[in-house]
């Protein structure tokens, strides 16, 4: 049971990084990213490609960061000419294109079979100890990202992102370079997403295209919407709650004696239902963004 709880906590922390990343883009900068999972995929495939070519995890990490920077800059570049809703659709399309590449370029990515056998990053005296260290590292990374994003969003940079989010024309009239702001926000937000993917790849020891399905993007969206767009604490709480619910699904299945195919369906229902329910009944989320917290 402890090992299971540790697994749920580790996955929740990894999703927490993804939620913080999406929240900086969407909650603060107004960049409605439906291709969030592509940023995560840069981290997983960075690790996997390095491993497949006999390089160590450090190279994998660097490769993931390079890939994610390129994808983030590409996303930001798209935003120059598209309205925010069209931009969202374009990011979804790019996520799907990257998924198609990962599925079909077998020579590079292992295709649908993916790449397996990645080493655990931390090997303690037991497997459990290794997992404990990984969990601690993930938790530290989550805390550092939270602190960094809090600092960024409480600064004038954060104010400029929020002004761009709501009144881009007003922001431009005050001299804010919206392209530059989009670029900075995407780059900063992309890093924890890729780190999450990198850690996930070495934790699961397997990287495959099914980890990049767009439903995963909407899992992260659900966490952000439940927690509260524009609230760092909120989206981390959203990530933890959603993971706890997911973890409870198999137990519920046993309790109600449901067939096992219900598990996947129930998870999807939870995501869709949670997203819809919160959007309709509590769009500000569990911990709403604070208006007026910056007093100068």
């Amino acid at each position: 049971m402890f090992e299971f709880s540790l697994h749920v906590a580790t996955i929740a922390a990894l999703y927490g990084l993804l939620a913080l990343s999406l929240n900086l883009q969407t909650g603060f900068a107004g960049l409605v990213n439906f291709g969030q999972i592509a940023l995560f995929g840069c981290g997983t495939y960075g690790a996997a490609l390095a491993f497949n070519n006999q390089f160590g995890p450090v190279v994998g990490l660097l490769l993931g960061l390079v890939l994610v920077s390129l994808v983030a800059l590409f996303f930001a570049r798209l935003g120059r000419s598209l309205g925010s809703d069209y931009w969202g659709i374009a990011t979804l399309a790019i996520g799907q294109i990257l998924l198609t590449i990962a599925t079909n370029e077998t020579w590079l990515t292992g295709g649908a079979q993916g790449i397996s056998g990645l080493p655990q990053l931390f090997t303690g005296s037991t497997r459990l100890q290794g997992h404990l260290i990984l969990f601690s590292v993930t938790l530290a990374l989550l805390a550092a990202t939270w602190w960094l994003f809090h600092r960024l969003t409480q600064s004038k940079f954060g104010l400029s992102l929020r002004l761009m989010r709501e009144e881009p024309q007003f922001a431009a009239s005050l001299g804010y370079d919206l392209d530059g702001l989009r670029r900075s926000a995407m780059l900063v937000a992309a890093v924890p997403a890729a780190l999450s993917g990198f850690l996930f790849a070495h934790y699961m020891t397997f990287v495959g295209p099914d980890q990049l399905f767009s439903t995963e993007t909407f899992v992260v969206w659900t966490m952000v919407v439940i927690g509260g767009l524009g609230s760092h604490a909120g989206v981390v709480v959203g990530a933890i709650l959603t993971q706890m619910l997911f973890a409870a699904v198999p137990f519920a299945k046993d309790f109600f004696a449901l067939p096992s195919e219900y598990v996947a369906a129930m998870r999807l229902t939870l995501i869709g239902g949670g997203l819809l329910g919160f959007l309709l009944l509590r769009p500000q989320g569990l911990i709403p963004e604070k208006v007026g917290s910056i007093r100068g």
Binding site: S155, K156, S160, Q169, A172, G175, V291, G296
Partner: protein, 268 residues
């Protein structure tokens, strides 16, 4: 010699077949307060939009001092010191009035400043502006929740907090309670005394007379007059633009009020 802060030559803008600006020339002297007048649909707002880069012109040149700015994006023009406010200012829902003003002071707005700690400092100027425009009471309210008139005040305050060299205001008093208009006049006079050049689109003639040293008048995209505000009422083309030809004839033939000659080239 008068230093020209902002000049535009042969500005042309058409929306389809409809010509909105027809070879407009305008020079604004540094430190002056110029009123931009004209009936509805005469092209005033389009002129502001073209000067500040929010609409691309079809032909012509715009220069800030001696630098051509006609091809620059709006944000770059603003960074070079030419700012504008909007006729119908829209304010963010999830930012307070004070946060909007803080964001308007663009210094230290980069990521680097945020990380190394040169982040937000209490700004005496922000409080002063809030006080002066009677916005202190609503400083912590969401900026979208204040009244239309207050939004207008906030947009002017935001533009001034940004530290412009030239500020173009699109109907600054429209929708503002008469009691507050005096506050705007004082604020703009102060800014002007500190060296800010002002170009003001306005319909309220009392406000224009109180503030502007010079008025330029547009009608159907054409510049028809350039004179001190006191001479506007006797200007036949201005009278014609606002009241029709018959009224203009009466002004032109009135023996005690000779018509004012329209200068061929507009310069102060």
């Amino acid at each position: 010699m008068v230093e020209i802060a902002l000049s535009a030559q042969k500005l042309r803008k058409a929306f389809g077949a409809h010509i909105v600006l027809d070879d407009v020339d305008i020079d604004i002297a540094r430190g002056s307060i110029v009123g931009l007048l004209g009936p509805n649909g005469s092209g005033k707002s389009t002129l502001l939009n073209v000067l500040t880069g929010f609409i691309a012109m079809d032909a012509g040149q715009v220069a800030l001092g001696d630098q051509a700015i006609g091809a620059l994006p709006a944000s770059e023009i603003a960074r070079r010191g030419l700012l504008r406010t909007f006729q119908l200012p829209r304010m963010p829902t999830r930012m307070s009035v004070r946060e909007v003003l803080l964001a308007a002071e663009r210094s230290d707005a980069g990521i680097f400043a945020a990380l190394v700690g040169r982040s937000l400092r209490a700004s005496a100027r922000t409080d002063e502006l809030l006080e002066q425009l009677l916005l202190s009471r609503v400083a912590d309210q969401p900026a979208s929740a204040i009244s239309g008139g207050q939004k207008k005040l906030l947009s002017i305050a935001a533009a001034l907090a940004n530290g412009p060299d030239i500020l173009c205001l699109d109907e600054p008093t429209a929708g503002v309670h008469p009691n507050l208009r005096g506050g705007i006049v004082t604020l703009l006079k102060q800014a002007n005394a500190q060296g800010v050049t002002l170009l003001i689109v306005e319909h309220d003639m009392a406000f224009v007379r109180n503030l502007c040293q010079r008025c330029v008048v547009l009608d159907r995209g054409e510049l028809i007059a350039d004179c001190p505000p006191a001479e506007l009422a006797d200007h036949p083309r201005v009278v014609e633009a606002y009241l029709g030809r018959a009224a203009a004839r009466r002004v032109a033939t009135s023996p005690e009020k000779p018509p004012v000659k329209v200068p061929a080239e507009v310069r102060v």
